[in-house]
């Protein structure tokens, strides 16, 4: 078993390897910070080995292999993509090191290769956004016209948040039309640029809803809308996913209408799980991170609770 304390942490306590996706967004940095500080504060954890894979699966696999060579006690993996983990996770299993998934999941066929997953469900987030949209625009008789700002083309959150959203709209039978849907690469810069082009191309007249896959793009788009002389939140309703401080602040200012939370601050929760796993306790296969969704009435109250 990998339970022996062979890390260089010196005293007792666990040596944990954390293979993080990258530092591609504020959400992600908040997540890393949360995990790192939780590990620091936690006496049961001797050392957290942190590797940033810069959104590259190969680098992440390399990191996991490095953890195996270092014989850490538990490996925490926030997989960049769902597939392709079989071999390296098998190697971890052969070396007797338990693996915990954080944030994103991996394909179902590899379920045996990790102990548990703690994280959010992007499709569910999309569904929450969809549910609110379906309710809000149920009475919209002339059809709901929607603009979508997607995340990085091909990335899991972008795919799932899109899928979940339209799944619900279809299921609810909302009469909608996608005016345009483009990638803003999860950044404010591109979110703003794409929104500007949306406005010059389609105008905002008659467009009901903007669905932005994350905060940053949403905030960029809000600027573009304001600069074009429209009032975000009123002339066009806006949903964003993530829920950072800045996002909630915009909500409080009335510039957007709905926030689906995607909570990065689960470091402490993760450390508990890690310790349980190391002790060989049985844990649920999936532990959801506590996440909510907030409408205009809740922004004000929620703002002080925001940690990132």
């Amino acid at each position: 078993g990998g339970g022996d304390d062979s890390g260089d942490g010196g005293g007792d306590g666990l040596v944990v390897g954390f293979a993080q996706v990258g530092a591609e967004s504020a959400w992600r940095t908040a997540n890393s910070a949360s995990v790192q500080s939780a590990a620091e504060a936690d006496e049961r954890i001797a050392e957290l080995k942190f590797v940033d894979a810069q959104q590259d699966q190969e680098k992440q696999i390399e990191a996991v292999r490095n953890f195996i060579t270092q014989q850490v006690d538990v490996i925490v993996l926030a997989p960049v993509v769902e597939t392709g983990w079989t071999d390296v996770l098998q190697e971890a299993a052969d070396a007797g090191i338990p693996v915990v998934l954080a944030d994103r999941g991996i394909e179902a066929a590899d379920e045996d290769l990790y102990v548990t997953r703690l994280g959010s469900d992007f499709t569910e987030e999309g569904r929450k956004a969809g549910t609110w949209a379906a309710e809000t625009f149920a009475a919209d008789t002339d059809g709901t016209r929607i603009l979508e700002l997607q995340g990085t083309t091909g990335s899991a959150p972008a795919n799932d948040r899109k899928a979940g959203f339209f799944e619900v709209l279809d299921a609810e039978g909302l009469d909608y039309e996608i005016v345009d849907s483009q990638s803003g690469n999860f950044t404010a810069e591109e979110g703003k640029a794409v929104m500007e082009t949306f406005i010059t191309t389609h105008g905002l007249e008659g467009v009901d809803l903007l669905y932005a896959h994350n905060d940053e793009m949403g905030l960029g788009a809000i600027q573009a809308i304001e600069e074009a002389g429209f009032t975000p939140g009123t002339d066009i309703q806006i949903i964003i996913v993530d829920g950072s401080k800045a996002g909630f602040q915009a909500g409080v200012d009335g510039k957007l209408n709905y926030i689906v939370e995607c909570n990065p601050v689960f470091g402490e929760q993760l450390m508990d799980v890690v310790v349980q796993v190391a002790d060989g306790e049985t844990v649920e296969k999936f532990t959801p991170v506590e996440e909510g969704a907030f409408d205009a009435t809740q922004f004000e109250a929620e703002l002080p609770n925001r940690q990132f």
Partner: protein
């Protein structure tokens, strides 16, 4: 009249002439060893042979791409399309085998043929139409990323295809726990590519032609060397290597990801150049490239073993290590230089 004829230069030893060009690669290898020893001294388990073996497991695809890139850079060109071609190759494997039901070996061959064909095309455009290599291959970077995304915007699993299990089959050299190590088959594929590239570059007319074209294309042309064939050939090799790397990635993960290998072209170029090959062409060694890839992997390994760096400190340290490396390499290599004020 006893005409005085030209006499050999007395002051310069013949040995030295031949050796100066090995100074950069010697420096690279020496520094690589120093990096390794530094790791051993500082981190427990770093002396585990698997640490070195791992460089060739995780970096096998990069190594293959970098070998192809070495040909291109030696000829004085550059190939920015490799990352995208690689991702496309992996995705094409997945699409052909999983969706189209093509037999996996056939799919592999098709993908390799496709990579080569792309290389031939881009090489021809560069040679005959005088399009700058940077632009012509940048087209490939965009095009294949686009096509990959069009095949699938999500990752695709190939785990059901038995053929792709082959690549990660272990060959054990002793037990890892007792100081042994293991390597998968795909590492051996990469080694084979290096060996073939070495022989081709150093012992065939084509290979020497690559150096000649890189030294001076005009001269090579006027010497009557097959410049067109050489220039197009190096891109074909690079395309083929990129496709092969894509196949190796399919072996390594049995999955295809449309966003894989973004920026791999830069990693490959960096590895080649760190390995002592001049970006202007004509000078360098494929073994230098191997050293370059190892340096790249070694730096990442050191950072992983250090383990307590935040994302940004990791980057800064990586940059600093790279800087120290190239500065030292430069200082060591300088001793072999002459004729400058």
């Amino acid at each position: 009249m006893t005409a005085p004829t030209l006499t050999a230069r007395p002051t310069r030893s013949k040995l030295f002439d031949g050796l100066t060009r090995y100074v950069p690669i010697g420096a690279t290898i020496g520094l690589l060893a120093a990096l390794y020893l530094g790791g051993v001294a500082n981190y427990p388990n770093f002396d585990n042979p698997q640490v070195v073996a791992k460089l060739f497991i995780d970096n096998a695809p990069l190594l293959v791409v970098a070998v192809g890139m070495t040909f291109v850079i030696l000829s004085g060109g550059i190939d920015l399309s490799v990352g995208s071609v690689m991702a496309f190759a992996t995705m094409a494997c997945a699409w052909l085998t999983v969706d189209a039901g093509v037999a996996a070996p056939l799919a592999t061959v098709l993908v390799l043929a496709f990579g080569t064909a792309w290389g031939l095309l881009v090489g021809a455009v560069i040679h005959y139409f005088h399009v700058q290599p940077f632009i012509a291959t940048l087209v490939g970077l965009f095009l294949f990323r686009g096509l990959t995304l069009q095949i699938s915007a999500t990752d695709v699993s190939m785990r059901e295809i038995g053929f792709f299990q082959w690549g990660m089959t272990h060959v054990d050299f002793g037990e890892v726990r007792d100081g042994g190590f293991w390597l998968p088959y795909l590492s051996f594929v990469a080694f084979a590519v290096v060996a073939v590239a070495f022989v081709v570059l150093h012992y065939t007319r084509f290979g020497r032609g690559v150096y000649a074209v890189g030294g001076s294309e005009t001269s090579a042309l006027l010497m009557g060397l097959p410049v067109a064939r050489t220039k197009i050939g190096v891109y074909a090799i690079s395309g083929c290597c990129a496709a092969l790397a894509g196949v190796l990635a399919a072996f390594a993960t049995k999955s295809a990801n449309p966003l894989a290998n973004v920026g791999t072209e830069l990693d490959a170029i960096a590895a080649v150049v760190i390995g002592g090959t001049l970006l202007t062409g004509g000078a360098g060694f494929v073994l230098g490239t191997v050293a370059g890839v190892m340096v790249w992997g070694m730096l990442n390994t050191l950072i992983a073993f250090q383990g307590n760096l935040s994302s940004w400190w990791a980057r800064i340290v990586m940059g600093a290590l790279l800087l120290a490396f190239i500065l030292l390499q430069r200082v060591l290599a300088r001793s072999g230089e002459k004729r400058r004020t």
